[in-house]
């Protein structure tokens, strides 16, 4: 007989990994590197956060360490994807044909 907290934790686990799965599908389906970064960074932030919250519900005594991992991911994930997107643009990784506008390339064209 599982308690309500255990059940909530287990549902959070499944929900978190479901977001990870949507990120994985995005990685495969998105047409260019920038859109893949978008898909990768968003789902890999919320997914682990929910999963870690789920683990914390099932084992409250691990709460502090889990919180530490969560906060760390929350701060580093967007940073690393920004650095990566910047590097991609600087070396001129191609964008998908659907791309409608690129202000950054326009501005760099003006002031070389």
């Amino acid at each position: 007989m599982a308690s309500v907290l255990d059940l909530l934790g287990a549902i959070l686990l499944v929900g978190g990994t479901a977001f990870l799965l949507s990120g994985g599908i995005g990685l495969v389906r998105m047409p260019d590197a920038y859109n893949r970064i978008q898909a990768g960074t968003k789902s890999t932030t919320l997914g682990p956060l929910l999963t870690l919250a789920g683990v914390a519900c099932l084992r409250p005594d691990w709460g502090l360490t889990l919180l530490l991992i969560g906060v760390f991911l929350l701060f580093t994930n967007p940073l690393s994807s920004q650095v990566l997107a910047r590097a991609a643009h600087r070396v001129g990784v191609k964008q998908a044909p659907q791309t409608v506008i690129d202000r950054l390339a326009e501005d760099q064209g003006e002031q070389p």
Binding site: A2, D6, L7, G9, A10, I11, L13, V14, G16, T17, A18, L20, L21, G23, G24, I25, L27, V28, A33, R36, I37, G40, T44, G47, P48, T51, L52, G54, V55, L58, R59, D61, W62, T65, L66, L68, I69, F72, L73, T76, N77, L79, S80, S81, V83, L84, R86, A87, A88, R90, V91, V93
Partner: protein
């Protein structure tokens, strides 16, 4: 019930891992591979947390923390390298 959901979560994470691995192998650019690598690491961290839960060993979480740290540094270093290297 709870046991079943934990294994279901682990299965979903495994599928996500395989999808990211496909992108890691397919590329086509180095940036795509790093993205896939970053996602692989995060899925692994989730997997380690689930393993800690299944085994009942809190010490595994320290591994997850160090893994998160190394992944972040690794991505930053490789991105720097791409910017300057070629």
């Amino acid at each position: 019930m709870v046991e079943f959901l934990i294994y279901l979560a682990a299965t979903i994470a495994g599928i996500a891992f395989l999808l990211a691995l496909w992108r890691f192998i397919a590329g086509p650019t180095a940036v795509d591979r790093i993205i896939a690598f970053d996602s692989l690491t995060i899925v692994s961290i989730t997997g380690i947390a689930l393993a800690a839960l299944a085994e009942g060993r809190g010490i595994y979480l320290d591994v997850a923390l160090v893994y998160a740290l190394l992944s972040f540094l690794g991505v930053i270093v490789v991105a720097r390298y791409i910017e300057r290297g070629f």
